[in-house]
Structure formats: structure tokens, C-alpha cells
Symmetry: C2
Subunit: 385 residues, 2 copies
């Protein structure tokens, strides 16, 4: 097309901006953000190379280390959790490396997909949706595979509402292969349920801002063990934006290699203060009570869960659609009539289930209102229970 043929782009005719509704947002991320954290984002911009930001960066990084339970530096990027998965892969491995992917749902699948996209040789150990990774099955499979450089696994699978027994799996993986890197997607678990990165000898842990951290999406946090930093030195996959070496070097002066997401840093600074005030173990207990409450209410209504009780997640519950109930209609009525927002099922489970988030910032009353509304709407749609 020549220059002459190009038309000027007109100002688009669009729907006017509406105010953002306040809802009982019960999706498994983004979570509800506490008012104090919401307000923190409205602070003025500052120079990200100046002393004011360095103080924030230092405080946030050190407090994240406490929640990651690691002595390793925590690196922070403007990115989603998927960016965290990619960051782990490009910083640890070289083209053709053989790795294992233990997959129990959609986000485990994505982790494996990224590894394949970057030219790794991926052996998958898949478990059906709703089940956790069975250590005995993992052990049997790993004894018959070719040598491998690392294992990717999910702590809490957001798509199925299942939490892997990470401590048991990490212990097993370390025993079977002392040198293989254990790489954990903890996007929807860290800060909500117990994960002791150093004690459990995990090599990489990554998470996303819009989950247990109670701030809006847009930031990804990742930490690597000494073993992982060693592997990083010889890892040959191409990288730049997510290159850990650059981030770690900048951390020496409490900076980022590129412009950080300042308003999300402001939010995280306040959120971490709130989390410390509540107490790490108290937060874990609150999430455990939430998971227990949601599961027992769902069962009392006559609903079936995707996950078995033993491995049910304390941050997200996947509820199977009862026979004859259209989940699209159900979720629409809940949103429009009760301001309660659940998430749909993903992938092959779309329309067959829905998911309820109970992580980050919530009260017991929020969960009760959501379950009451669900019960009411199910009955309105003819569900007998």
C-alpha cells in the first residue's frame, strides 16, 4: 500500500466510560484489594532512580524474602504470572535440555508449553484435572525417564482448585535427583498457604501480585536458590527482559534494570505491612478456614467439587455444574443480581464447572454472602440439591 492510499485514523466512536462497580469479586485473582492498598496507588510518581524509591524497593524486597521464606533475593518484574513461568525457563535452561513437567491442570500445561516453545525437551507427567500429583506415580515415572535438568510443577492449580503436597514432592524430587532444579509455580499459593522455599530446598518460586498479595495484577515476583543461580550462569536460552543477572545487579543499589511499576510498588508496600500485621501463620489459618467453609457450604447445598477433599485448595474451589444448570446463566445472574462474581471453568471444563476464589483480602461475611447468593440462584434455576 502506498502512502497516498493510507487513510487518516478517525477518533473512534466508543461507549462512554462507566464507573467501575464494587462487587464481591470471588474469582481466583485478581483478588479484592483493601481500601488502604487501593488508595496507596494514587500517590504521586517519583524518580525510580532516586532515594525515595530505593527505600521502598529495599523494604518490599526484604519483606518478600520473609514471605518466600528464602535468603535469596526476590526479583520483581512488570509482568503477569505467565511472565514468571517464562522467566524461570529462560534463566535456567539451554536449548534441548530435558526437563520434566508435572501437570495437574491448565497452568501446569502452560508451564510445559512455554518450555516447549523455548526448545526444551519436555517429558510430561500428567494427572487428571481434580487430582494432585501422586508421589508414587511421579517416582515410578522418574525412574524410567532419561536424565533431566529440572522439574516444573505447580503448587496450587488455579484451574482445578487442587494443591499439590509440595513438601513431599520436593523431598522426593531431591532424593531422586540431587542436581535437578525444582521449579515451582506458586502464583496462587504463596502468601496464602505454607511454602518454605529454603527449608524444602526448592530452586525457583514465582508468584503474581494479584493473588495472595492483595494488590492489582501487573507484577511478578521470583526467587532462585544458589543452585539455580549456578545453573543460570551456564543457561544458554536467549533472554534480556527477564534476565536475572541484570535484575540482581540493579538490586545492589535497590533499583530495577528498567522502569518498575511504581504504583504497584506503592500498593505492595502497604499490603506487605498489612500482611505482617496480621501475621504469616494467621494468614495461612484464615485461608484454611475459608477453604473449609466454602467446601462444607458447597457440599451442604448438594454440590460436587472437582477436587477430592484431601488435596482441595484453600485459595480456590472448583465446583462442578449440577445436571441441567447452565453455568453461563448462573454466573450472569449472580453477577447482575447479587454482585457476586465467580470464574468460569477453563479449557475442556468450560461450562462444566465454575470456580470461587477465596484468597488475599476477604472476610468471612464476603464468603457467606457469595455462598448464600449461589444457593439462592441455584434454587431459582431449579436445582434441588
Amino acid at each position: 500500500m502506498t502512502t497516498q492510499e493510507q487513510k487518516a485514523i478517525p477518533i473512534p466512536q466508543v461507549e462512554a466510560r462507566a464507573s467501575i462497580p464494587t462487587q464481591n469479586l470471588r474469582v481466583p485473582g485478581p483478588t479484592v484489594v483493601p481500601p488502604k492498598v487501593q488508595a496507596a496507588q494514587a500517590a504521586p510518581m517519583i524518580n525510580h532512580r532516586g532515594p525515595e524509591f530505593a527505600a521502598i524497593m529495599k523494604r518490599v524486597t526484604l519483606r518478600l524474602q520473609y514471605f518466600f521464606q528464602t535468603a535469596s533475593p526476590v526479583l520483581i518484574y512488570p509482568a503477569s504470572g505467565t511472565g514468571g513461568q517464562e522467566s524461570a525457563i529462560v534463566n535456567l535452561f539451554s536449548p534441548g535440555d530435558h526437563i520434566i513437567s508435572i501437570t495437574i491442570g491448565n497452568f501446569g500445561d502452560r508451564f510445559a508449553k512455554i518450555a516447549s516453545a523455548f526448545g526444551l525437551e519436555v517429558t510430561r507427567i500428567d494427572f487428571p484435572w481434580g487430582q494432585a500429583a501422586d508421589p508414587a506415580v511421579v517416582e515410578a515415572r522418574l525412574k524410567e525417564v532419561a536424565p533431566y535438568r529440572g522439574v516444573l510443577l505447580t503448587h496450587n492449580e488455579t484451574s482445578t482448585g487442587v494443591t499439590n503436597d509440595l513438601q513431599t514432592l520436593a523431598t522426593l524430587l531431591r532424593r531422586l535427583n540431587p542436581d535437578a532444579l525444582i521449579v515451582v509455580d506458586a502464583v496462587s499459593s504463596l502468601g496464602c498457604v505454607q511454602l518454605e522455599m529454603d527449608k524444602w530446598d526448592i530452586d525457583v518460586v514465582l508468584t503474581g501480585s494479584q493473588k495472595g498479595w492483595m494488590i492489582p495484577p501487573g507484577m511478578m515476583m521470583i526467587a532462585a536458590s544458589q543452585r539455580a543461580w549456578e545453573a543460570h550462569k551456564s543457561a544458554k536460552l536467549p533472554r534480556f527482559y527477564f534476565d536475572w543477572t541484570l535484575a540482581r545487579k540493579s538490586l545492589d543499589s535497590w533499583q530495577n534494570p528498567y522502569t518498575p511499576a511504581l504504583s504497584l510498588f506503592y500498593a505492595l508496600d502497604v499490603a506487605l505491612e498489612m500482611m505482617l500485621a496480621e501475621g504469616r501463620e494467621a494468614i495461612f489459618e484464615r485461608h484454611a478456614r475459608a477453604g473449609e467453609y466454602v467446601r462444607s457450604r458447597a457440599k451442604a447445598m448438594g454440590l460436587k467439587l472437582l477436587s477430592d477433599h484431601k488435596n482441595a485448595s484453600n485459595t480456590v474451589t472448583a465446583i462442578l455444574a449440577p445436571e441441567g444448570i447452565d453455568t453461563k446463566t448462573l454466573l450472569k445472574k449472580l453477577r447482575e443480581e447479587d454482585s457476586v462474581v465467580f470464574a468460569t471453568g477453563q479449557d475442556h471444563m468450560r461450562g462444566k464447572m465454575f470456580r470461587m476464589g477465596h484468597l488475599g483480602f476477604f472476610s468471612e461475611a464476603d464468603l457467606a454472602q457469595a455462598m448464600d447468593a449461589l444457593e439462592k440462584q441455584l434454587h431459582a434455576l431449579g436445582f434441588q440439591g
Copy 2:
């Protein structure tokens, strides 16, 4: 290290959180954010797969197309501008591709570095800091190089305060090689100075949220021409997070492939409304007046600029440190005594100059206060002018 040797991570002792100061932030990004845009970030979270977000995503995307002056979709990522540079490279090229990098400063250098990191064959055409790319030199060099797939260039070089004559360069590049991809880093120019993506037949334009868009950092926006989308189909560099195909597919339902930075979308939605109210050409004129004012004030004080007048940027001015003036002391006094924040020189120009941003949200009074304070502090430090 065995499990037993790992010590529990204690709660870190850190400096208490201080309130964020309101300053006359005159760095070339992040820019000052208008109060209405600051406040917009504090709105509640919503489901990024729901209808409320789809309306925002649609409005923001279409309005960005107007400011990019392109009929192509604008893709939006949680990332910095550097992520945008990486996104362009991994989506357009294959390992070993020969490309040209026209570099006039630090951010042009970074673009070339990313290309090399991803295994491209890079021929650099460098110009000294403070100068724009000379079309005659570019033409002479391009006539002697091996065939090339694309050309990377910077519209406005934030490190030197120089704006390339992009229209002339793009016309030249297209004439010399009708098939080569013209890839433009417009991080600190788009939305501030004229850039007609489609009319100038540019293949990729990328920008960052914390510049002309008047919102905090953390989002990157990028658009590709039909020629670029064609090239993308056969581009073999590994990618996932920044894969345009995934983003474009999600755009069909006004969604993102991964969780978007919601509060920054809220901010951008309001900022674009303000930009349309002001008018695109009026914004360009305001930036032209700002550049002219800052340069004339600096010269009247007896200061020298890094750039020659002809190619001086209307979004950032690089001022050379006068003989005997320590820029570190000068910038510290300005920050602490006058709440005026300038940026340091980068790379080999650290300590030899400082930079003043005049882009995004500012008033003439902001610029006057900054220049007045600069004049006062220079005199206090013994500068005679």
C-alpha cells in the same frame, strides 16, 4: 546445604514507610500523573474475563489506535518499554537474521543489545550522542551492507534529548529496501510528537505507559503493520509471553491472554479521555512550546545543550554540566531544597550532564519553577553563566 542447616527467615528490620513526596518531577518518565488519573487506579478490581473489562479494553485499544495513527490492533502488555523492544524482536525475526540498528544513544544501544542477545546478526549505524541519524550517512551505509530483514531505530532518544527525523528516515528506508521491516522505539515520543505509523509506512511502533500517556509505569503498548504480521508468521525466535498471535486472538473478545494490569488500564482509560479532550495536535503543540521554552531558558542562563537545535527533543532536554559544577550536588540540592527532580546522565555521560523531562502532564508553571530553581542553584554553586 541440607534441610536441617536452613535457618528460618526472620521478619526483616526495615525503615518504616514514609509518605510519598509531591515533587516537580522533571525526569523523562515516569511523568507526573494527573490527579484524576491517579485516583482512577484506586477503583475496585473486576474480573478481567468479564464484560466490564471488555468495555475498557475495547475503548482503550481503539483510542490507542487513533494515537498510534494506525488501523492495526494495538497490543498491551504488563511490561516496561524494554519489554516492548524484546517483543518486537522475538515476534519479527528468526535466529541469524541480519538486521540494521540505527543508534543515537543509550536506548538505541539497548535495542541492538537485545537483538544480539536473541542471536540476530546486527549491523550498527551509530551516531555520536547528541546527534540525530543523518539520512545521507544511513543511505551510504545501507548501500554497502549485506541484505537485511529489518531496521531498528529510535524516534526520540531519552538519553540524549534528540528526536530523529522519523518521516524522512522511514521514507528513505522504504525506498532503499521495500521489504525490510521498519521497527520504531517510540517510548518517549508517541502521544507527544507527531508520528503517523500507517502514513509513514512504519512496521512496528512501541511505547511505554509512563511517558506521553501520563500514567504510571508498568504497561507497554505495541502495534504491527500487515507487513510485520506477515513476517511474524514465519519468525522463528522462541517466544511465549510476548507472542503477538496469542494477544491478537484474545483481542477478538476484548481480552488479554494473561491477566492484564487492571489498575493501569483504569488509569489509561481516563488519561486517553483527557488526551482526546485536549486534542492530539494541541498536545503536540504544547510539547513543542515546552521544548522551545526549556531550551531558550537554558541557553539564556548560559548553559549548553547536548543536542543541536535542529534535532532537539520536545519531550526531554539534555543539559551539559557547566565546568566546575558537580551534577550530583546540583541535583541533590534541587530535589531536597526545591522539590525539583531532574534525571542524571546515562552511561558515559553520567556526571557530565543532566536531563529534564517535559512530557506528558505538565503546566508552563511547572517548567518555569524548575528552570527558576535550576538557575538559583547554579548560581549558589558559583556558576556565572
